[in-house]
Symmetry: C2
Subunit: 335 residues, 2 copies
């Protein structure tokens, strides 16, 4: 591998001139520049990014840290970020914490060690320790998905209260009153907001929420399945189930199928967030989806702005909250 010294030798200039020529061609005379260009081509020189990062104290690498890269929600955002970053000479490396806070932390530390230029982070923690950790990082960070109280960073996400409200309203308008809600972890902002959206809308409509109809699905497949089972074996069953995310809603569908309930004939179902192949799932689930492309675009632009413009450090963190979209399916019937 050719080094910058090889280039310098061949072009008969100093190493520092080569470095200067490569990073700021305008400050070098045209004819030296040409000599250097030829030498670079001749030896096939490519700068070592590691050495550059060490010397500069910054790399051109953006860390994308999420709990589940397999989730299409994150996938879309990743793609948007990646395209944008690539256009600005930055690379995205993805790390998956599998939802584990300590692993996420190790990964973030690793990325910081690599002198990452910036981080797009879907936070998985919420306690003091975690907040202090994130807050203490001296690197541009854009948080998304989960709004964590206490983290003073740019945030990009969707209006989750509205998401819960929209589906609740839809079910109410179809005549449902016994609406069940499979919730997510109470420490997650998205989960509590969606739940509040449900509760508030029910209250506004003057419909009482049956406490037995609110179960915790942890946003996971297994817990969602159990939660759904608990709903379905009650003597007084709900007429509609609202799943606070895709995993719990689809687990509920599975539970319904296994117990022989027809959807939507026996029980209606609605969910927040899309899944891959939702179009071939029968019935097509009525859902509220996030505008992942827009989210990804905002995250990308905001992060690159923080990275590239020096004075952005003094700009206060900003929240970007997008409106989710209602996508009707045929999983909810009028009663």
């Amino acid at each position: 591998m050719a080094t910058i010294r090889d280039v310098a030798k061949l072009a008969d200039v100093s190493v520092s001139t080569v470095s200067l020529a490569l990073s700021n061609p305008a400050r070098v005379s045209p004819k030296t520049l040409e000599k250097i260009r030829q030498a670079v081509a001749a030896v096939g020189y490519v700068a070592d990014p590691l050495a550059q990062s060490l010397a500069r104290g910054r790399s051109r690498m953006i860390g994308f840290v999420v709990g589940n890269v397999g989730n299409p929600f994150f996938g879309d955002i990743r793609r948007e970020l990646e395209n944008y970053a690539l256009d600005h000479q930055h690379f995205v490396v993805v790390t998956d914490s599998s939802g584990k806070t300590d692993r996420e932390r190790a990964m973030v530390e690793h990325l910081i060690g690599l002198k990452a230029a910036g981080l797009a982070l879907a936070p998985s923690g919420y306690d003091r320790d975690y907040i202090d950790f994130i807050g203490g990082l001296n690197v541009p960070i854009v948080c998304f998905d989960q709004k964590v109280a206490g983290i003073e960073r740019d945030f990009v996400g969707s209006d989750n209260h509205l998401a819960g409200a929209m589906l609740t309203e839809h079910l109410l308008q179809l005549g449902h009153r016994r609406i069940a809600f499979i919730a997510g972890p109470s420490h997650m902002h998205t989960a509590t907001e969606r739940y509040r959206g449900f509760v508030d809308t029910m209250a506004n409509a003057g419909v009482e929420v049956n406490p037995n109809f609110v179960v915790d699905g942890q946003f996971t497949r297994t817990a969602g399945y159990e939660a759904a089972m608990r709903l379905l074996i009650q003597p007084e069953r709900p007429t509609a189930i609202l799943g606070a995310n895709n995993a719990v809603a689809l687990s509920a569908l599975q539970a319904m199928q296994e117990l022989g309930f027809r959807c939507p004939d026996d029980i209606s179902l609605a969910m927040i967030d899309n899944v891959q192949w939702s179009s071939v799932i029968t019935p097509r689930i009525t859902m509220v989806v996030q505008d992942t492309l827009a989210l990804g675009g905002i995250i990308a632009r905001r992060l690159m702005h923080r990275i590239t413009s020096p004075q952005s450090a003094v700009e206060p963190p900003q929240d970007f909250v997008l409106t989710p979209k209602f996508v009707p399916g045929n999983s909810c019937r009028r009663i």
Copy 2:
């Protein structure tokens, strides 16, 4: 941030001794070791991975390069690799090429620039240029999923011929004769093997393959959908469709639903590879799935072996081909 020189100063030893003590404690006297340990703790020293990588010429980072992290097939493998790597003090960074060969190449070059310890690579290319590129890399690499002729590396994958054969056999035994096949790109090893499995099994059974019943779905959603449509609008329709991967098969299901065909009553469907939430798709698709956990485990062990054991460089590349598993659903009916 404390550097190794701070530690050396405080412990009153040379920098090289500190370095030695940290990397090979046994070669340092117990009492200096203790001094150094205390100094490390006192200044809160953590080695800069960047500087280490630069000096050593190798990092502790493993690159996981695939075409679509959203595919659960890759997701499971990634998880296995990650767990194993973490146990061996290595980190996994994921890069997604979106199936684009040139982007994959850029990402691999980037990882090499970062002095990646090794690569787990699902190759996306096949031409001379690409093969030379991969072959020229001087880093441990384990390829998986796609076996590319000409790449002399460890390979981990499934018996795709068998996968195609199993489903074909299944359909034949149910009495089907007019079996259609939605194929993948002919340059992909998995695609051609699966197709051969289909053709060979048909031939063995003495059943002729209708040329109109073999269409190209490119392993993608859109092409798969079009391919399925071509099949379904023929006056003489197939009684069963075998999708060479999950995307084309599910696109076929969607096409069937849109045209009003019932599966399996009108047309049977079988596919290779699982998808997330396949359990809630109606009907439950009969499929052959790969043992992703086992694949991931083998990839992880093989790669770590190549990385950690110096003499492994002379070991010839090895192929690991696993037997896929038949998972019956209710998308195929007897006729």
